[in-house]
C-alpha cells in the first residue's frame, strides 16, 4: 500500500508521499513515489500508488521520452498545457497496464495503479489531476482542492476539517504530517521516510523538497504532540449527558423470565 496526498493551494502545490512498498508483510522495501520533471517553462510532479512494476515503467517511459531532446513530442516537457500532460501521462499509464494484463498473464495482484499529477506549464495556472488506471482523469477544483491515493481513509478527516487553500506552505506540510502520522499508526503498509515537495506558483522550479526520516525530531514531536492535542480537543467538547431515565427494555429478545 501507499499513501500520497497533493494539495492545490492559493500559492501553489504541495505534495507528500510515503516510501513503503510491500509484497506481503514480510517483503517490504523503500521506493520513492514522487517524481518530478523541470524545464525553464514548466514544473511537473507525479505521485504514484499501486503496482510498483507498473508505476516504475510509467515513470521510466515518461523519463526516457523527456530526455530525448530532439523529439520532445510526446514528452511531458513538450506538451503545451497541463491538460495535455495529463492526457499523455494517462495514456502512458493505460498502455503499461494493458501491456502487462493484456497478453493473458495472470497475477495474484492486479497491475493497476493510480497517479496524482500536478504542476504548471508556462503562464497557465498550477493544476492538479488524479489519473485512474483507465487513463482518464479528474482535476482538483475549489470544491475539492486536494487528492489522496492509496490508504487514504485514516488520514482524511483531519484534512477535510483543517485544510484551507490559503494557509502557508509550512502549515500545509504540518497538516500533511499529522495526516500521515495517523495513517502510519494504523496501517503497516504505509511507512517512513516521507518525501515532500513544495511548488510555488509561477516559479517553474521546486521551492522546497525534502525527506523526513523516522528519527526526524520534528516528526516525532508532531506524532507525540498530536495525541495530546487530540485529547485536549476532545476534552474541550461539551460533555454528553446520559438521560436520567429508565432504559427501554432490551430491544429484541425475551424479557427476564
Amino acid at each position: 500500500m501507499t499513501y500520497c496526498v497533493a494539495l492545490r493551494m492559493d500559492r501553489g502545490l504541495v505534495f507528500m508521499s510515503d516510501t513503503r512498498t510491500n509484497a506481503g508483510v514480510d517483503n517490504i522495501s523503500v521506493f520513492r513515489k514522487m517524481h518530478s520533471w523541470a524545464a525553464e517553462d514548466r514544473f511537473i510532479t507525479v505521485l504514484t500508488a499501486g503496482n510498483l512494476a507498473t508505476t516504475q515503467a510509467v515513470i521510466s517511459l515518461l523519463d526516457e521520452r523527456s530526455k530525448a531532446v530532439g523529439e520532445r513530442v510526446p514528452s511531458v516537457l513538450g506538451q503545451p498545457s497541463m491538460f495535455q500532460v495529463a492526457r499523455l501521462v494517462g495514456d502512458t499509464l493505460r498502455e503499461v497496464i494493458k501491456a502487462n494484463a493484456g497478453d493473458g498473464q495472470a497475477a495474484d495482484s492486479s497491475f493497476n495503479a493510480t497517479l496524482i499529477l500536478g504542476g504548471q506549464v508556462g503562464d497557465g495556472e498550477p493544476r492538479l489531476f488524479l489519473i485512474y488506471p483507465e487513463g482518464n482523469f479528474i482535476e482538483a477544483s475549489d470544491d475539492t482542492p486536494f487528492f489522496q491515493i492509496g490508504e487514504m481513509k485514516y488520514g482524511r478527516p483531519i484534512i477535510v476539517r483543517a485544510f484551507d487553500p490559503a494557509m502557508s506552505f509550512a502549515d500545509a506540510i504540518k497538516l500533511l504530517l499529522v495526516s500521515f502520522d495517523s495513517t502510519i499508526k494504523a496501517n503497516l503498509s504505509v511507512g517512513l521516510p516521507i518525501d515532500y515537495l513544495v511548488y510555488e506558483a509561477g516559479t517553474h522550479r521546486a521551492a522546497h523538497e525534502g525527506r523526513i526520516q523516522a528519527d526526524d525530531p520534528y516528526f516525532q514531536k508532531i506524532s507525540s504532540g498530536w495525541g495530546e492535542a487530540l485529547r485536549r480537543a476532545f476534552d474541550s467538547l461539551p460533555p454528553f449527558e446520559i438521560p436520567d431515565r429508565a432504559p427501554a427494555e432490551a430491544s429484541t429478545g425475551a424479557p427476564a423470565p
Copy 2:
C-alpha cells in the same frame, strides 16, 4: 456499509451502531443493528455488519431459540458462559452463511457478515468478542479493548488516541459520537440515527439505551465543535520550519535544457 463500535471499559461495556443499510446509493434504509437479550443472570448485546439478510436471519434464529423457554439449549439465554454464547452465535452465523452460499446461489455481493458480541453471564467478567463470518472469534483484551466493524478507518484514529478504559460512560459516548461523526462525514453509507447502549458490570441489564437522531442538538454541537477543536489542536502543534536551503534538483528527469 455500516459502522459499529464496542468498548470494553473498566466499569462495563459501551456499544454504538449506525442504522443505515444500502443496496446501492439509491436504495438506502434504516435498520437497527443493535440487538440485546436479557435474563436475570445475564445481559447480551450483538452488533451486526454485512449482508442484511444474513444478519437478520442470525438475529431471528437467536431470538426464536431464546423464546422457547422450555428448551433453552442451544439458546444465548441457556449458555453457561460468554465464551459459550460466542460459540453459539458464531455457529449460527456460519450456518446461515453456509445455507445461503452453499447451494449454488450466486449474488453480486457476498452473504458474509461480521458481528460484535458483548455481555456478561452470571458472575463472570463482562466480555467482548469479534465474530468472523467463518464462525470463529477473537476476544477484546487490555491491549485491544475495543472492536470496530464495517467502515472503521475514518473513525479509528480518534479512538486509538483518546480511548481510555477508565473514562466515564458519558465520555465514552462522547468519544464514539466524534468517531461516528468523522465517519458519517466521509462515507455516505454510514448514517444517522445512531443507537447506543451502556452496560454496567454486574447489573445484568442495560444501564442506558438510546437513539440519537440527525437533529439531536448535542450531536450537532459535537459535529460542528469537533471541526473547530481539531483546528485548535492543529494550531497548538509546533510549526514546521521549511529548511532555508536551495532545493535539490528535480528528483527524476532532465534538468532545464
